[in-house]
């Protein structure tokens, strides 16, 4: 216990003295389960294809099982894995060189396993030096009894200027949000190193983790903005991620959490639309678009249909930013499940059964093929791109994921986001085909490549001259 004295311990906020001693015990009880995680974020370099700009990053980690499984914020890997998880997606490689520094100051190497964007957590595993090594860990309990006014303790780490020392604070639960997904808000008055801090109750039992604030600007209207100067700390209750701790996602094994999707774009049934269409229910989800070959398409849903309920839950969605409610219901169901929808179409109420499938993978997880000789990286054309560009699913081609600006491809005018459809007048069916074609041409010492590309549904020709 000697090492504890090495750390700066901060008690903040008003804590009655009888809890105070208890609070310190809670801190002591959990301190060794919190660790400092460092890693390199690999942001695709636009200077050299296949290389990355490495940026060293630090996060708060929580040990969640005796074998050395560590839970961190999902922002360690900001790339969308599937179509239902949209994150700000820079072209980026997997994070690497993970190190975990435990409270005894010992540093361990670790490997990245995977992440879940809905639960907002990612997992890494400490590489054990001895098989018998065992780590202290946090066990989370259920949170259904948490209510406004309860006292919570938050154990985090401070930033680099405070040498990542522990930060321990007490809070009242200021708000409990039920929709679109249950979470707690507390007043945040001390900035910590990152999201991923441990949240406990007054008995020191773990309840959840702190997460990054979620902003949805997509449906914001003038006057909708909150006062951002007042910062909340958002807490994800343990229900978000306990199942993932038992069975963490693992990218290497291609075992990513299979997320269900319906395959629609949607809007809220506003009061005006309800009255205009004479829908016999307040609230609902209007289908704006049905993606081809999605569960919704298979079930025969149409643009303009109003979804009134899913299984037994009536959708009371009257504003666009509440449509996440439907998405969250779908996300709680496993792929393969059949859900019962009630649809309103042309004045009639129709039942529809929809068999959910796993959401197609996003470009971030697509197979990659770097072409360093020409200076770009291509990827298989994933459905998210085709849906986004509203192209038929059988559109042939490969997606240009990265272009090195000073390379022959960059000089020739190839751009990130282009879809290559022909190479030297020959149609390209897919990634392997494109790779073979380019390799053969390079072997034959071809000097000029003529690519037919599609971008914003407009075609053009890009000439890549290796002699330039």
């Amino acid at each position: 216990m000697k090492f504890l004295q090495l750390f700066l311990i901060l008690f903040l906020g008003f804590i009655p003295s009888e809890i105070m001693s208890g609070a310190h015990k809670i801190f002591q009880k959990n301190r060794d389960k919190i660790c400092l995680v460092s890693f390199y974020q690999n942001i695709a370099s636009d200077a050299r294809i296949g290389s990355f700009d490495k940026i060293k990053q630090y996060r708060i980690g929580i040990l969640v099982d005796p074998t050395g499984l560590v839970m961190v914020s999902n922002d360690v890997y900001p790339v969308s894995m599937d179509l239902v998880s949209s994150t700000g997606s820079l072209p980026s490689g997997l994070p690497s060189d993970f190190k975990v520094t435990l409270s005894d100051n010992n540093e361990h190497s670790a490997t990245f396993l995977g992440k879940d964007d809905q639960a907002k957590v990612a997992f890494i595993r400490i590489e054990k030096e001895n098989q018998t090594d065992s780590f202290p860990f946090v066990t989370f309990r259920k949170t259904e009894s948490v209510q406004i006014g309860d006292t919570l303790f938050v154990l985090e780490l401070l930033g680099p200027s405070y040498n990542y020392s522990p930060l321990f604070t007490s809070h009242l639960v200021n708000a409990v949000l039920e929709s679109p997904r249950r979470k707690f808000l507390i007043n945040n008055y001390l900035p910590a190193l990152s999201a991923g801090g441990l949240v406990t109750n007054v008995n020191g039992e773990a309840l959840g983790v702190t997460i990054n604030q979620s902003f949805d600007f997509s449906s914001a209207r003038p006057g909708d903005f909150d006062d951002f100067h007042k910062n909340y700390l958002e807490i994800a209750p343990s229900e978000w991620f306990v199942e993932l701790i038992a069975d963490p996602p693992d990218i290497e094994d291609n075992q990513v959490a299979q997320k269900s999707w319906l395959g629609i774009q949607m809007q809220a049934l506003t009061k005006e639309l309800k009255n205009y269409w004479k829908v016999p229910q307040e609230g609902g989800v209007v289908i704006d678009r049905v993606f081809a070959e999605s569960p919704a398409a298979e079930a025969g849903l149409h643009t303009g249909d109003v979804i009134l309920s899913v299984n037994d839950s009536i959708l009371k969605v009257v504003e666009d930013n509440e449509t996440a409610e439907l998405r969250n219901i779908i996300l709680t169901e496993k792929p393969g499940t059949v859900v019962d929808l009630t649809i309103f179409r042309n004045g009639k109420i129709l039942p529809r059964k929809v068999k959910l499938t796993a959401a197609p993978k996003a470009i971030g997880r697509a197979e990659s093929y770097p072409v360093p000789e020409l200076g770009f990286e291509m990827r298989e054309l994933t459905r998210d791109i085709l849906y986004q560009e509203d192209l038929p699913l059988n559109t042939p081609g490969v997606f240009v994921y990265q272009v090195d600006r000073a390379s022959p491809a960059g000089i020739g005018g190839l751009e990130t986001g282009d879809i290559i459809q022909e190479i030297n007048e020959n149609p390209v069916s897919g990634l392997d085909d494109a790779g073979t074609k380019i390799e053969k041409l390079l072997e034959k010492k071809q000097k000029i490549f003529m690519l037919k590309v599609l971008s914003y549904r407009q075609s053009r020709f890009v000439f890549i001259d290796l002699e330039k």
Partner: protein, 455 residues
Amino acid sequence: MDFFTGKTFSTLFVIVLLFHFNGFSQGDSKDLQQEIMKARDMVIPALVHIEPVRTVFSTGEKRHALVTGSGFIFSRDGYILTNHHVVENAEKLTCTLYNRKKLPAEIIGSDPSTDVAVIRLNLEEWEGETLPYAELGNSDSLEVGQFVLALGSPLGLSRSVSMGVISSIDRYFEDRGSMISPYNLWIQTDAAINPGNSGGPLINLDGKVIGINARGVFLAENLGFAIPINLANEMAGKLLAGDTIRRSWIGLELQPLRELKQYLKKPDLSGVLVSNLDPGSPAIKSGIRPGDVIQSINELQINVNYEEDLPAVRKILSELPVSQEANIKLWRDGKIKKITVIPQPDPFEYHPEFEAEDWGLVVKNINRTIFYLQGLTQYDGIYISAVKSGEFAERAGLRPGDVIKSINQQKIHDIKEFKQMYQEIRESDPDFIFFEILRQATPYFAAIDLRKWVK
């Protein structure tokens, strides 16, 4: 190494100066000064300061902004040439003439593609002397290096003259973003062109107008662009005949041939490379494909080696007679093919924005940039350029950037149909206004419940 010290340096400096003014003795530079004054005096009386009262919705709130620009009278009966961007969306125009007289003016026609506009002074209040006007020169015979003056009227009465040379006569701007000028090249000059003298004349030392000042480049020095007067004059003629310029459309996007020739190792190939075909266009119907090389249009030989050659071809295509067969000769995989295509009117016709005041909405026709950026596949519909906060449209969920496809189940093809529908709804007073729109190519529905509103 004391080469650049004291005497050596100043001697060198004098030599450089002499070299710089090579050819100008004391007398010559006096002559130049006189020439500048003479040219200036020929055009300054025709210079007008234009104050358009413009409706601006950029914040979603309608406000009148007073902007200023320049223009010049080019005919005795009071016609003025200026830029489209000076008079765009102007509700009212006031011109200040050389003698401080303020006259109202009306827009005769305006063309965003070439940034040329013609307005006419209301001469009812004009008394006395004949109206001064500037003579137009010939922009086809310009030479790089030739002296020019950029004239303008940045404020009511002040007049500005800046001098420079023609830096380039064939500047091309890629047909992307806001700098759209598909049909012409630009005169580049180092004479200062700024927002105040935008629309003013660029003149030669004979006092003849050779261009209309149009663009300065923000934060760049000595970089101004003017529209060649021959093109402006041609457009003015068309604008005087009708309020917009009707162009033909076969739906081709073109690329220069230079790189294809290198790729094919066919240095003698001539023509222009077809890169893209607009959906549903006459070119698609005629069987033209991306990758084809167009070699002649109605027997007129085409050769586009560089980007700078593109505007001329686009202009030829835009001037093909509508509904009349045009013969196109093209090269495809080493073989010559002859194809006929029947041009149609350009689906992207310009109309001034329209404000549906009761609904808190400003709309305009879809243009080519909007069409492709919004991922549209059909040409009908109108584009919402602004939505007033707190009004019907905004409450119904409409946003700037949306494309209205139908109102109350009736298709809206263009701004004329929108205006009609707007009028009908105002008169018939229905319970609802129901919009089907496209937002980034995805349908969206919006309804306004008029029963809730006190009218």
